[in-house]
């Protein structure tokens, strides 16, 4: 996609997630009391209300839970088609990421595909994109 991607505004809660790619880490917030993974990241556990939470590095692999191939140019500079997918992360039960599956033809993606993170830097943000594991 050549069109610029809208980027997240960084704050204390989301910074570990959006900048982990600088050191190759996919980080998901986790409660250190009950172990629940928390996404979107917040300073309190949605399961036990503990504030003892912090970012944890997860493997960066996962499975395509569902997906869509986008054909619509939402603005003129957008390159289509491309794949938007919901990836269920390994090692972080219950957490899904909306992302793009890159590095393969759009029509080749399917539910159940194994994928691995591939970070792409835009300014001060490292977007976790995913590619299929051969």
């Amino acid at each position: 996609m050549t069109a610029p991607r809208p980027l997240p505004r960084l704050d204390a809660d989301n910074r570990p997630f959006w900048t982990g790619g600088e050191v190759g880490e996919l980080r998901i917030m986790r409660c250190r009391d009950c172990g629940t993974f928390l996404h979107p990241p917040r300073p309190v556990c949605r399961h036990c209300l503990s504030e003892n939470v912090g970012p944890e590095v997860v493997p960066g692999t996962g499975v395509v839970d569902t997906y869509t191939v986008n054909y619509q140019k939402w603005h003129p500079a957008m390159d289509v088609p491309f794949v938007i997918a919901r990836v269920a992360l390994d090692g972080a039960p219950g957490v899904y990421l909306t992302t793009n599956i890159v590095g393969c033809p759009a029509e080749s993606v399917d539910v159940g595909d194994r994928v691995r993170v591939r970070f792409e830097q835009h300014e001060d943000v490292w977007l976790p994109l995913f590619e299929k594991i051969a």
């Binding site: 869509t68 054909y71 491309f82 938007i84 399917d110 539910v111």
Partner: protein
């Protein structure tokens, strides 16, 4: 429960439905208010409450240009209760709020309205600027960086799961759009009045697979009004009151991509715990179809068929046609009538229960019970409406 503690939808009204209308959003709202007052035989002085969704949205005025505050002031309403906001279980949550208020004795006759100006706003960006997208926060930050910019993309992923898990076919999903368009052709106010054929549907370009162009509603400029009246005040009204027999509304994970299921499923389950009616008693359904897939999920969510069986249930389209066992979206839905954003479904349910559908009136004699829904993503509301 005594009848006096019930809530009713009395007058309903609607402006013209158009694209790039010159008439202002406030005046479109006034058009709908006047029609609703006329039908109910009420004067504006008898209105003492206002409820709307999502209130005025300053950063996206086309989406919601008029809030409760402005309408109250513009029409000189003396409100003893009012509310307007987006943090509610989707569009018809504003009707749930009004019904709750009249049952609590906070108001007697409440104007519920939804005004949209999305088509005009696109053509007049100086007056109605689009939100800036340089940096995003809140829910958008989890989708927009991946160019999942539209609700079409988010919804398509739920639909794709139905395709992969339950074998939903395009020819099945098509029946939502085909039915909507067939019914819209019979509605003089509908935005799109030409029927759609299966061949045209199957040849349509994809927007976000498996959703094609005809699975998406169309921006429009319009206002819809429903007056919710207290049981203690319903004798002041001259139209046939329609009782709100049960209500339900839920939210799943607010971030669309964390939810396992759309909110319609929990909403549908809750609705039937609050009434002795059963799905077999329902004469017509008006299901939210901002994307066609949502209407399909509502059949499953409300127990008209099993989960995953929605495609088979509507296959061929006979069952959901005007003369079928469960007529769907008889005004054309948002795909045919235009994106009225939730309120059109309740407006039409009331119209059908009063036998006022004209050329699009369902063929069953003496309809008594209808369902209107809104939402279907992470937010959903269902109303069970009865003519006693």
């Amino acid at each position: 429960m005594s009848l006096s503690n019930e809530a009713y939808i009395t007058g309903v009204g609607q402006s013209q439905i158009g694209v790039k209308l010159a008439r202002s959003p406030l005046l479109l709202t006034v058009d709908a208010v006047k029609e609703a007052l006329d039908e109910a035989g009420l004067s504006i002085g008898q209105i003492d409450g206002v409820s709307t969704y999502p209130g005025r949205v300053a950063q996206m005025l086309g989406f919601s240009p008029i809030g409760a505050d402005e309408l109250i002031d513009a029409l000189g309403i003396r409100a003893t209760w009012y509310a307007g906001g987006g943090e509610i279980s989707s569009q018809l949550g504003a009707v749930v709020a009004a019904a709750t208020a009249v049952r609590a004795g906070l108001a007697r006759h409440v104007i519920c309205f939804r005004t949209v100006y999305e088509a005009a706003a696109l053509s007049r960006p100086d007056e109605f600027p689009m939100p800036r997208r340089d940096r995003v926060d809140g829910f958008s930050q989890w989708t927009a960086p991946f160019n999942a910019l539209s609700a079409a993309n988010w919804t398509a992923q739920y639909a794709m799961r139905h395709v992969k898990k339950y074998g939903l076919k395009r020819e099945q999903l098509a029946q939502i759009a085909l039915t909507d368009r067939a019914h819209a052709a019979l509605n003089p106010r509908a935005l799109v009045r030409e029927p759609l054929s299966m061949d045209e549907y199957l040849a349509a370009r994809m927007i976000s697979s498996p959703l094609c162009l005809y699975d998406c509603d169309r921006f429009t400029d319009a206002s819809t009004v429903l007056i919710v009246s207290a049981g203690t005040a319903v004798n002041e009204v001259r139209c046939t009151p329609i009782r709100i027999a049960a209500m339900a509304g839920t939210v799943e994970r607010h971030s669309w991509d964390q939810a396992e299921w759309t909110a319609s499923y929990a909403t549908g389950r809750d609705l039937w715990t609050r009434t002795d009616y059963r799905p077999k008693d329902v004469d017509t359904v008006q299901f939210y179809d901002g994307f066609a897939f949502y209407a399909l999920t509502w059949f499953e969510a409300l127990g008209f068929c099993g989960i995953g069986e929605g495609g088979q249930f509507i296959e061929g389209g006979r069952r959901i046609a005007l003369d079928g066992e469960l007529p769907l979206n008889t005004f054309g839905g948002q795909i045919g009538a235009g994106r009225l954003h939730g309120f059109g479904f309740a407006h039409e349910a009331v119209t059908q229960l009063r036998g006022k559908g004209g050329a699009r009136q369902i063929k069953k004699a003496d309809p008594r019970l209808a369902i209107a829904t809104s939402g279907g993503g992470p937010l959903a509301t269902a109303l069970l409406l009865a003519r006693d």
